[in-house]
Chain length 217, copies 4
DNA sequence: AATGAATGAGTGTTCATTCAT
DNA sequence: TATGAATGAACACTCATTCAT
């Protein structure tokens, strides 16, 4: 087969746009959006300064692109989980694992997503707001479904419960003062594996922290 | 008491430093640290902007001062709660109410604290890190105590549980996609009162969301 | 005639150089030299912008080429007029009509010529200077000739008179605050025909604006 | 009298805004608006770079200010002439002298005015357009008045005549290919004095270039 | 001839900080 | 204390020009 050197060349000449996006993700994650200069991104990407502007209108658009590129995929996965025929508990566990795994595998991206976009002025933009509320809607749906199935108590507002659940996960990703022993990590060498953390978060959310003795309503 | 007229004058001429701090808090809350110019702060404070530098070394120090000025008080309150002779549940409720009330009453300050300090590069500074970890230590202590008292299950890492609890609260303050009905607010006119939210968060944390039927371990 | 097919092809594939020149003329006329990007020109010409540099050394050269390409033809026509056996009055009229007609027919070119070349730093270049002074020399010659023939008064410097004449025409082309009724235009629907304007300019130049009554020297 | 050193000091500390404006006028006149960097202006003004932006929003505003600052004065003088009880001829002469004198005395300003503002994209702005048309309106009025007084022939559109007159003056200021002998200059050492040029322009405009012999209509 | 990706010098503008008064 | 003029480093963005294909 003459799958040709030309083809291989094209395989080697990776998509510059993506190269820039990856570099920017790393740079933003490291120094924050405001702390990052466009020249830092170019340097990290190993390209000429001006080329960045060949692919992106401006610095802001790079950030937005980072968000857009991955959020859709992420959200789709969440939707699959929400619509799957699994039990509520398994769905929540899947969500938890998805989020914590993302943090492990693409921690740069998550950092940028959470710190530079979700927690910034930028977040006020309707587009972003809608995107994130989409996530909460899907998880909220899982909770509501659980309540309808009588698996979850229904004396608590489902949106509020959803928020608490997400907050528990969010902080695992966000918080830098968590003791190492509790940080979700790839190997159990350093702290818990992300599955264990996910498991724990779901367990607290569903079963509560009360010891069995007294508080079983 | 000999509180001289000169002293009284000083009492009338409100503390400029504080005026600046308050103005800065409002400005930072509104436009973010990076989006705020020193001149914006001066304008908001109603003073010449050169004067800012009589009271603060630089912009950064203003932000730090905002943090320092209030965090100590906040932490002290948390400590009082932690050391009080109350039951674990009441302690957690008190913490939850404290945080959510702060958000109601001084939402600007909380915004700055959370968005501009805790979620920024700045947070990497050991001083801030230590300050915040202090909070987690105190709450973690409450959890540990609960476990020792056999009120809380001890098959879950106390730090992890603590984080989940704090995350549930944190998101109430942070998240802008929460439906209005769930946002903790001052009056019950719009959404729940902050006490109700606090109550709910604690209840989920302790009792879990599972309906009584099956999952009472 | 052996106009080969290859030649015909070349005839169909219009001269790219000229296409670029025409596009540039339109673009420069619309946005000014500094306001026009090379990519704008390429876009207007419908070609890739790298190609512009196959035909021209740089942006500047495009402007110069626009000038060079047409100025020679223009100047030649002026020369023909100057050397023709006509009376001074008819010569001046012919010049006036030539200029105003050019403005009507190729207003883009005239705009570029006048605004971007004659009235710009670029004009300082000896080449351009010489080219334009050529025009003035020719018209000045007509005036001088008129004076020698005793058709024109000779108590006024011929160069100065020439300048006044040219200024009167120049402003018709240049001035954007002229009332519509006076602007030289193609049809008499809107304002005067360019011939009428030419006629009027010449008449003022020769006969003066004074009413016959008193001032006939 | 205690007209005080403080007062004198204020007299010495000249208006920085004006210093910048003057410097900018010189720089713009020399290198053109586009060829001038803000740093050039600062350098020429002998001030720090950033200070320019303390007094002007941006480079563009500097140019506009140059125009605004002097145009009003200029226009007022023209108006005085137009409204004076003088004969038409003297009014036109006064206008001619005003313009040519301005060119002599403040040639930088005139250069900037004519080259960078009147003959640029910028000129399209309604404000500038209106300002210049004001000038033409006033001169046009003089012509109209002359026609009503039967001093000027009325078989020619007054606006057109006005334009021709102004064009004759304009070119004296604009044209760089005029022989030195004709350029209006301060002393008669080099070319004509500006009064002589003004005189000549008016004479041509009123009396025409035709020799008395034949063409006295 | 043709394309458009790649380069990087150039420059307008912002704004924290200092300073003279 | 108070003012706001003065400073200048920093940086985003533009765009003419070159180059690999």
């Amino acid at each position: 087969m003459t799958s040709s050197s030309s083809e291989r060349v094209h395989r080697v000449v990776v998509d510059k746009r993506q190269v820039i996006l990856d570099a920017a993700t790393r740079v933003f994650a490291g120094k924050g959006y405001h702390g990052s200069r466009v020249s830092d991104i170019a340097l990290e990407a190993g390209i000429a300064y001006g080329l960045v502007y060949h692919y992106f209108k401006n610095k802001e658009e790079i950030l937005n692109s980072i968000f857009d590129a991955q959020w859709a995929v992420f959200l789709e996965t969440v939707q699959e989980i929400a619509l799957s025929p699994e039990v509520t508990e398994r769905k929540l566990l899947a969500i938890a694992e998805l989020i914590l795994k993302a943090h492990r595998v693409r921690s740069d991206w998550v950092k940028v997503l959470v710190f530079e976009i979700q927690r910034s002025q930028r977040f006020a933009e309707p587009d972003r707001l809608r995107a994130v509320s989409e996530l909460f809607k899907l998880v909220g749906q899982i909770v509501r479904e659980g309540q309808e199935l009588r698996v979850l108590r229904d004396d608590i507002d489902p949106d509020l419960a959803c928020a608490v659940f997400m907050g528990g996960l969010d902080i695992m990703v966000t918080n830098s003062v968590l003791p190492e022993t509790v940080k979700p990590s790839a190997s159990s060498d350093e702290g818990l594996r992300y599955q264990e953390v996910a498991q724990a978060v779901v367990e607290i959310f569903l079963g509560g922290m009360s010891s069995g003795e007294a508080s079983c309503r």
